[in-house]
Symmetry: C2
Subunit: 233 residues, 2 copies
DNA sequence: TAGGCTATTGTTAGGGC
DNA sequence: CGCCCTAACAATAGCCT
């Protein structure tokens, strides 16, 4: 019995995932058939799965290809919508890349500052009194906290500034702060770009209440003034 | 409140159809999204409707085109499946055409017989006694019944033998006997052809219990022996 | 693995506004 | 038309075989 409401996320358990797939894909096709019959509309649905060499297709491979062809070849607004989508997608990708880049830059700068301070401290260690030593320790501790704060956005990945962008290829149950922020950024752009905002995008939640600041929708994310380190003198 | 279980057929009422469409297409896209998320599979869904100049597409026009392209270009079994489907479809179309053709032929022959009998009756009317007159009337009546019986398969269309095939373009609530028979024939062929019969086609019901005989799966439906008039001397 | 079962959640037809 | 509501209907998660 459906004891609990399942969360909308990738099902880890293999057999459960397969079972759910089999049930749901069948339902989906049925729903498509019902919609087409009840409302007299043309429709098609295609699902690729690792459980079958052939994709699941409704109403038939031929019909699907025909329907899609009609959709692809339409020269009017559909074409424009496609171009618009390509444009938006590129814009989102570019913005995301800039966000990640700047985030890494922040991290690197803070680590360099920390190293500088450590180096200075070590070099002048013999000349410091207890008070100065304590201050140095606290200062270094602050820098460490700042670094940790920055690193939180990357969560799991190694804190090396030169590392590639978090390659979270496998589905994860818990998104990193960076991922959440990127998603929020994408939603902002989509909302700004879309002529008619979709319902699913209207409510842009910000889980976890992180304080990573997202820029407004400006065109050049290269400008570091948008990303100025909030805690650097 | 959903007081009654709706029948799976085209909704006549315009506003109700539109409302149902709006609700169901939204649900369909949601289901597609859930399936894709839960099971980590690629999927797309496209619905054309008269209620919107643009088709409803999930997950996006671009993705849909990409997914379809992948499906279309696959050279292996998918291609074979397409060819197989084309072959089957042609076979079904040919069989259906032959059925309609023969049905019309039957109708025409019966009408000609009726006319012959009427003509003979009229010409020899003055020589007939009461008994012969009664027999003639009953005979003509039988022929009329036979014609009506044949015409039942066409139901609404004009009974002219030269008329084009029943052009039931608009959705109808009640299928004609001919349509039901043709559907049954199609299902027979699909069952016979399909390597793995689909669940939805296994139960080929024959609503109304009509007595129109469907041929077995032979290759030449032209042979009138399969369609020999059941009530001709 | 695939079906069958059922408690539970999800969908939606029909109304009202 | 679109939106909200609710009861009736449908889908399905988790078990079991």
């Amino acid at each position: 019995m459906a004891r609990k409401k399942v969360k909308l996320q990738w099902i880890m358990n293999d057999t459960a995932r397969r079972t759910t797939y089999k049930k749901r894909v069948k339902s989906l096709m049925k729903k498509a058939m019902e919609l087409s019959t009840l409302c007299g509309v043309e429709a098609c649905a295609i699902v690729y799965s690792p459980y079958d060499p052939q994709p699941e297709v409704w109403p038939s491979p031929m019909e699907a290809v025909r329907v899609i062809g009609e959709f692809k070849c339409r020269p009017d607004q559909t074409k424009k919508r496609l171009d618009q989508e390509i444009y938006t997608r590129e814009r989102v990708a570019k913005a995301k890349e800039q966000v990640v880049k700047q985030q890494k830059k922040n991290l690197r700068m803070e680590m360099e500052n920390l190293m500088d301070q450590c180096l200075a401290g070590v070099q002048g260690l013999q000349h410091l009194n207890i008070k100065e030593l304590s201050d140095l320790t606290w200062s270094i501790d602050d820098r460490l906290k700042a670094i940790n704060h920055q690193m939180e956005f990357f969560h799991h990945p190694a804190p090396q500034p030169g590392a590639t962008a978090a390659p979270v290829a496998v589905p994860v149950a818990q998104n990193t702060h960076l991922e959440v922020a990127l998603e929020s950024l994408e939603n902002q752009i989509l909302l700004d770009t879309a002529p008619m905002p979709r319902d699913s995008l209207v409510s842009v939640a910000y889980p976890g209440g992180q304080d990573m600041m997202l820029p407004g929708l400006y065109d050049n994310y290269e400008d570091p003034s948008f990303w100025g380190p909030p805690f650097f003198p």
